[in-house]
Amino acid sequence: MHLPAILPWGAAEGFSKQMLLVILSVVIIATFFVIAARKQQLVPGKLQYAGEAAYGFVRNGIAKDIIGGKDFIKYVPLLFSLFFFILVNNIYGAIPVIQLPSFSHVGGAYVLAGIVYVTWIVIGIKKNGLKYFKLATVPSGVPIYILPIVIPIEIISNFLVRPVTHSLRLFATMLAGHLIVMIAGSGIEFLVMQENVLLKGASVLVLAGSLAMYMLEALIMALQAYVFTLLTAIYIEGALHADSH
């Protein structure tokens, strides 16, 4: 299931397969997009077209649609990096032999959600000053006698729960998908090893089910990358336009 520690490096487990895959993903993404973007022509070739389509998906489909305005372009690099970093690291889980989505280890998800958390709070303070915390926690147009209930709810949901859900959503879906695929694989192996022919035959059912789950997982891998990036854009937009919410 896990490669052994590649190097006896660090505290507990050393240099793991997950770390190697994370570094590899950075190399893959950077190489692909630098090559796709480097030979720029007005009429794009196939590689450039693919790069532009991928870039345009994040730029127009997420950043422009959600954040909008003139300065959405400032946040495109963060959203773009997040989307493809998560996408590639998730897709690892669907590739035979590799079969390890990096974010099935919770650390990476914490880091990314933490970066986003700090980012949108900094943006909110930069844009609105310290008044931002009031804007973010006291909704306008709410009757004053409900405020004592609403304000704690807003504080908890915006500043405490949000980063947790943001990271755990990614981590949990990846871990669950990883577990399902692994369990299905082990289950097939276990059933095939049985003496009983019927039990051996039942492995076909598991195989069919695991294929369906595999497809579903592949979908969820892409979807979670999109969801994580979309939520990031929504949080940034909320911080930018805190006064109009």
């Binding site: 299931m1 490096w9 660090g10 505290a11 507990a12 487990e13 240099f15 793991s16 997950q18 770390m19 994370v22 570094i23 993903s25 950075v26 993404i29 950077a30 997009f33 630098v34 973007a37 480097r38 720029q40 007005l42 790069g51 532009e52 870039y55 730029r59 372009i73 495109v76 690099p77 963060l78 773009f80 990096s81 493809f84 970093f85 990096s102 280890h105 919770v106 650390g107 990476g108 914490y110 880091v111 990314l112 970066i115 755990l168 871990l175 082990s186 192996e189 276990f190 090893m193």
Partner: protein, 183 residues
């Protein structure tokens, strides 16, 4: 296999929500590097190309619009020139017609004058010729008369009888003429 599952289960005592600090570190550094590359190279390059493409397309549209405007201006000018040329042609035709009429009238007048002149000249010539004839006739008649008279006188001087006969004959002729006239 059973042993494997059991070992995995005992290994799973570690809480999956507790992160490995080195994995976090690798993700943080990896993501930072990626973000740096994307911010520094990828996004500017794509944005530059997008801007160039937009400019090329908009520039093309502007160029086409300019060409269209130029074409319609040229058409307008051409129409204007055509109208001008037509007006000019009409004007020239009218002028030519007027000039032609003028020339015709002039020619007619000239011809009339010429014919009048020729007629007058002929008249004058005839008159002068007649005059000359009259003068020359008169002179000749005078000479003839003188000669005749001289002859008559000369004969009378030489022969009375012949002169008498001449006179008689003349008289007789006169008488005959008178008698003839009387009859």
């Amino acid at each position: 296999m059973k042993q494997l599952i059991i070992s995995a289960a005992t290994e799973g005592d570690t809480n999956p929500l507790v992160p490995n600090i080195w994995e976090m570190f690798v993700v943080l550094v990896g993501f930072a590097v990626l973000l740096f590359i994307v911010t520094k190279y990828v996004v500017p390059m794509f944005e530059k190309n997008f801007a160039e493409r937009a400019e090329a397309i908009e520039g093309g549209i502007a160029k086409a619009e300019k060409a269209q405007a130029e074409a319609s201006a040229a058409l307008e000018e051409y129409k204007q020139q055509l109208t001008d040329a037509r007006t000019e042609a009409n004007r020239i035709r009218e002028e030519a017609r007027g000039e032609g009429a003028q020339i015709l009238a002039d020619l007619k007048e000239k011809a009339a004058a010429e014919s009048a002149r020729i007629t007058a000249q002929a008249h004058a010539q005839i008159e002068s010729e007649r005059q000359a004839a009259v003068v020359s006739l008169r002179a000749e008649v005078g000479t003839l008369a003188t000669t005749l008279a001289g002859r008559i006188v000369g004969e009378a001087l030489t022969d009375d009888a012949r002169s008498a006969r001449v006179v008689d004959r003349f008289l007789a002729d006169l008488e005959n003429q008178n008698a003839g006239a009387a009859k």
